[in-house]
């Protein structure tokens, strides 16, 4: 395992985090650090709980054990009012965009400002125009979310996420389901926003190429723990078989191809009747 880089100025500190969903372990004693003003990519196979990590950082979920400090504050020990105050400094780009479908693009971007600032309608309109310009969609201000393509919706959501000039922006799978051009645009935008506004960015993704191309710091999660942490260069040079399997997209390796079977459901019986000998003998074997 690559040692985590020493980060003096950490924006987020996750200490001994454990999180269970029912009996299923999502995280067990995970500790990681997200440096201030940098882009941190949290990567890992689907189902490792990357989005869960973002929700834990935003205190939408409560950990089973452990603490998460965001800018020095333990987010899970805050009252609801204090938490909402902290969240005003966070922006989140949801996987689906999560635009409000009953509002136009401009109204979506204006919404956080109308809620949390005392700016006049004219000032808000001018900021909305700037934010939409920064994601290249000023021309789409009057469109409704249903009229936008997936890539455009994500860019509008990005404009909305940065409307209040947050200190932290979290991106949940920003590249999933995007065409190569949209991916390129998003990569450029994330880098640009991070550098121009000195934002701390956390990027959750399993798109290796795009994530490594912009990340300053990388964390790879698998099986409920951190398997690697370091700079993009460190990660690419890693000899760890788990890391190599993930980066090279090998179907089998330390992360098994087969989802672990429990004793109770080992006999797959779609018909509801007794299992045939032939199908039982094939249990756990390779695809034939």
């Amino acid at each position: 395992m690559i040692k985590g880089v020493s980060v003096v100025d950490a924006y987020i500190r996750v200490n001994d985090l454990s999180f269970f969903r029912g009996d299923r372990v999502i995280y067990e004693n995970v500790s990681l650090t997200i440096p201030k003003g940098k882009i941190t990519a949290v990567m890992g196979p689907s189902g490792t709980g990357k989005t869960t990590l973002l929700r834990l950082i935003a205190a939408q979920l409560t950990p089973t054990a452990g603490t998460i400090f965001v800018n020095g504050q333990n987010v899970h020990a805050l009252s609801r009012t204090e938490l909402y105050k902290v969240r005003k400094k966070m922006g989140m780009l949801f996987q689906s965009g999560a635009l409000f479908t009953d509002m136009s693009v401009a109204e979506n971007v204006a919404f956080p400002m109308e809620e949390h600032t005392k700016l006049s309608a004219k000032e808000i309109a001018s900021i909305v125009s700037d934010k939409l310009h920064s994601v290249g969609l000023r021309g789409a201000a009057k469109m409704m979310p249903a009229e936008l393509s997936g890539g455009m919706a994500r860019r509008v959501a990005l404009a909305r996420a940065i409307a209040l000039d947050p200190e932290l922006v979290m991106y949940d799978e920003p590249f999933t389901g995007q065409d190569p051009i949209s991916k390129g645009v998003l990569v450029k935008l994330i880098r640009q926003l991070n550098d121009s506004a000195n934002i701390t960015s956390v990027l959750v993704s399993h798109d290796v190429k795009e994530s490594l191309s912009i990340a300053d710091h990388v964390c790879i999660l698998a099986g409920g723990r951190v398997i690697a942490e370091g700079s993009a260069k460190d990660i690419l040079a890693s000899e760890d078989p788990e890391v190599r399997q993930f980066l090279n997209g090998e179907p089998d390796g330390p992360v098994p191809f087969h989802y672990p079977e429990s004793v109770d459901d080992s006999d797959v019986d779609l018909q509801g009747g007794p299992q045939s000998v032939a199908s039982k003998s094939n249990k756990g074997g390779a695809i034939q």
Binding site: R55, A58, Q60, Y84, K85, R87, K88, M90, G91, M92, F94, Q95, S96, A98, L99, F100, T101, F111, P112, E115, H116
Partner: protein, 260 residues
């Protein structure tokens, strides 16, 4: 023994769910009026979609129920030579019983299901999470205006249902069956009392409104955010609301008119 244990477990689960739903309701309503202009805007929008858009179904159903009541009432009353009492029969059955109950059942099907589906879909598309992430309480922004709009609309729709039913009944009994117009209205005027008949009907409608809208918004907010989950929640809204309306109607009727 096992049966008693599972019955106990079911009872505890049920009580827990009711408690959770109660806290949810109190939190939604208490947090609502933050900024007056914003609250009014949100409320008016919901009054339109929950109330105004339900008008057609209420008016048409009311008219038909009034017409059917008149036909049925006339055929029985005519045997005793008291056809004029059809006005009284119509007004009392509508105001005391049929308007609040049928309006609430129609409201559960038309507006309640739509509220559940809308809120469930907002949950599935992460819009509710999005509000939370922006430091905006979804209970205040999404749930409260919908709940309050439902509570305001249903009693008004119930009164409109009564009016539409009486007019429909008048059309059939006076216009078609030939009941004397003056007798139709005067029998109604003599027998209907504002406090015992009209107000009791309104009180029933308010109770149904609280229960139906509460069930609808809670089911939407707590649903499993998948297409199957939203479908099930919508069905639950209609089934639970209908059962709650009919059971509550019995309790309220016994309390209001059971004093023989």
């Amino acid at each position: 023994m096992k049966v008693i244990i599972s019955l106990g477990a079911w009872l505890f689960d049920w009580l827990e769910a009711v408690g959770r739903a109660g806290i949810f309701l109190v939190q939604s309503v208490c947090r609502f009026p933050v900024r007056f202009s914003e609250s009014v805007n949100l409320l008016v929008k919901q009054l339109y979609s929950v109330g105004v858009l339900s008008l057609v179904i209420i008016l048409v159903s009311g008219a038909f129920i009034g017409m059917v009541l008149s036909l049925q009432g006339y055929s029985i009353l005519a045997k005793f030579g008291s056809e004029e009492a059809v006005g009284q029969l119509l007004a009392l059955s509508l105001l005391r019983e049929l308007s609040p109950v049928v309006t609430a059942l129609l409201f559960a099907g038309r507006a309640g299901s739509s509220l559940t589906a809308e809120i469930g879909l907002m949950k599935a598309t992460e819009q509710l999470s999005s509000y939370e992430m922006m430091g905006v309480d979804p209970l205040r922004r999404v749930i409260a205006p919908r709940f309050i709009a439902g509570v305001i609309c249903l009693p008004l729709l119930s009164l409109i249902f009564s009016a539409s039913g009486i007019l429909g009944g008048q059309l059939v009994s006076v216009g078609w069956l030939g009941v004397y117009d003056g007798a139709f209205w005067s029998s109604m005027q003599q027998s209907v009392h504002f406090d015992t008949d009209i107000m009791n009907g309104v009180i029933k409608a308010v109770c149904f409104a609280v229960v139906v809208t509460w069930i609808a918004v809670y089911q939407g907010y707590e649903c499993v955010p998948t297409s199957e989950g939203i479908g099930k929640a919508t069905t639950r809204t209609v089934v639970l609301s209908s059962l709650a309306i009919l059971a509550l109607d019995f309790v309220l009727t016994a309390a209001m008119f059971g004093d023989f």
